[in-house]
């Protein structure tokens, strides 16, 4: 173990400090810890160390020595090795520590958090933060492969089953991973539809596979975010509704309302509520049963009444 630690430290220093990229033979000859007599054994050891260091985030670059030569050489560009200038304030570090703990990501994030602490001159901040009673799971399906593809700009393929339709293979340039209200989505550019689309990750069947080479697409547009996965109402559809609520549930309706309520007919209180998705709105209204009633506009009111009539007929 200690031999390996020493060898790895020496390899990182050698590749960082070398003027020209080093070939495997250079490393065999010059880097402490790699000089064993059996060259094949050295190659296996070096390949394993190289892969592990890259996995740790050490940016080992492969350089082709010249066009006629198929030998590779290796180096570490110090500018890519060094943590970029980022100095977080103590309250920002502490908040990050709470965030990784609450999301169950503390183990995975520990190393990264410590680097940021050192950059801010205060290693150990996260360890002082008291355990928070908050907890939320952020385990996105297929996260690892999607993130790797996103960062390396590699197109992916997967089988996708839209609601109530048959599964089909999609070919997508992955732009962003989005969570809205507990659901995970991939936002990306769909090759067959030639347009930006959002996919629910729980409707992906089987595995997500990289397809083709890294660097296959340009930097994604910068305006991607949660808005991409919010259903958009058909154009011209109303974006607000007047609803009436009984005293029992008025407090709950008020939290979604624009402004406060006003007295409505008889025992009702009237609220104005924003509508983004008519189906979601109808479902929200119906969740209150007889305690909420849509006053207008007529099309939203009728949409809810039509549903109620269908339910009454189907159940009688």
């Amino acid at each position: 173990m200690t031999d390996r630690l020493e060898r790895l430290i020496n390899l990182v220093i050698a590749l960082r400090e070398t003027r020209r990229a080093m070939t495997a033979a250079d490393i065999h000859e010059r880097v402490a810890g790699y000089g064993q007599p059996d060259y094949q054994a050295f190659r296996r050891m070096f390949e394993r160390d190289k892969a592990d260091l890259r996995d740790l985030g050490v940016p080992i670059e492969t350089v082709a020595l010249d066009a006629s030569d198929d030998r590779s050489a290796y180096r570490i560009d110090p500018r890519r090795y060094n943590l970029p200038e980022v100095a977080l304030a103590p309250d920002e570090l502490a908040a990050l520590a709470v965030a990784v703990q609450a999301t169950g990501l503390a183990d995975e994030a520990e190393g990264g958090l410590r680097k940021l602490e050192v950059a801010a001159g205060e290693p150990g901040t996260a360890r002082m933060v008291k355990r928070s009673p908050l907890g939320i799971s952020l385990d996105a399906p297929h996260r690892e492969v999607l993130v790797a593809a996103q960062v390396s700009r590699t197109t992916v393929q997967f089988r996708y089953r839209p609601l109530g339709r048959d599964a089909a293979t999609r070919t997508v340039d992955p732009y962003a991973i989005v969570n809205r209200r507990g659901r995970w989505y991939l936002v990306g550019f769909d090759h067959d539809r030639d347009d930006r689309r959002a996919y629910r990750l729980d409707r992906v069947e089987g595995v997500v596979r990289p397809s083709g080479d890294p660097g296959a697409f340009a930097a994604p547009p910068s305006d991607i975010g949660v808005e991409d996965v919010v259903p958009t109402p058909p154009s011209g559809a109303p974006d607000a509704a007047q609803v009436l609520a009984t005293d029992e549930v008025a407090w709950q309706v008020a939290r979604r309302a624009r402004g406060g309520g006003e007295p409505g007919p008889r025992r009702w209180t009237r609220f104005t509520v924003g509508v983004r998705d008519p189906d979601e709105f109808a479902s929200w209204v119906l969740s209150f049963g007889p305690d909420v009633c849509v006053e207008g506009p007529a099309e939203l009111r009728e949409a809810v009444m039509t549903r109620l009539q269908a339910i009454r007929e189907a159940s009688s």
């Binding site: 173990m1 630690l5 790895l8 220093i13 050698a14 960082r16 400090e17 402490a32 985030g57 110090p78 060094n82 970029p84 980022v86 304030a89 920002e92 502490a94 908040a95 990050l96 965030a99 990784v100 999301t103 990501l105 995975e108 190393g111 050192v118 950059a119 290693p123 360890r127 908050l134 907890g135 939320i136 799971s137 952020l138 993130v147 790797a148 960062v151 609601l163 732009y175 962003a176 991973i177 989005v178 809205r180 209200r181 029992e248 407090w251 709950q252 939290r255 409505g264 007919p265 008889r266 479902s283 007889p290 305690d291 009633c293 039509t306 549903r307 109620l308 269908a310 339910i311 159940s315």
Partner: protein
Amino acid sequence: MTRRPAGALQRLERVLTMVPWLLEHPGATLDELSQRFGAPRDELTEDLDILGYCGIPGYGGGDLVEVSIFGDRVTVRMADFFSRPLTLSVREAVTLLLAAHALASVEGLAESVPLRRAVAALEQALGAQAARVAVDLRSDGDQWLAPARQAVANGAVVHLTYRSASKAEVTERDVEPWSVVGSGGGWYLQGYCHLAQGPRDFRLDRIKDLRITDRSVTVSPPEQPSPPVYEPGPDDLAVTLELAPAAWWVTEWAVIDAVQDRKASKRVTLRTPSVEWAARVVLQLGGDATVLAPPELRQRVAELAAQTLSTYEQAAI
């Protein structure tokens, strides 16, 4: 996600993070290092000893890192190549951004504002290395997150005014809070309910009022708290529904006994603690669910629909 095997790689990562700090703090004590970097003193001493044998190929005088440990004090020199920590790996960057975006999106947490600043600073520093992540966990009950969390932290009983899913009227109850947990897009306060005399989950958006009392909790939380998903009991009612595709999400959210796929619909059997609760769910599904059994649920759904429709006729302007 798999964790890296403990050992040389983990210790390498620690060395690459610790040395930049040591270069700026000559004479730091082993105790301070142990505390700040969360590792036992003897392990750190060993790492530093090994570092003293490392350097630039040639490994002559002036090529090696200088490490001196005098008594308890550590000084590292001649290691300018390690003056900055190793950059964040893709995995570390995504993990940090994911966690930060998640809590930053929630209104009313003390951490939201500093987290938004941290996200902006990180994304700017990482540039193209930052994977794009967006999280929106806002929900209607966010205002109770901070007080609920405070109550858990202080071990204080809370008094809730709460409307359960199956009723319109609210109830008053004392709850010994254990944790605040997010699941399926909503936040829940988990704890021991004195009214129900058992453990219960309370969705924050159904809380009308939450008051922290000056009484301390007496019932300790279970060692393995269960996630806030409804778990059917043996006396629960079995309900069979026919679901149109628009209502299939129910199968991902409720505990389902059996699913039968038909041409354009699914038949599912699930268990429910009360007819009223199931009737409200069916109503919410707005015609995309039909009750096949039991008859009393069918009847209650028809009643609820008729009663709700009649309010439209009465309230008509």
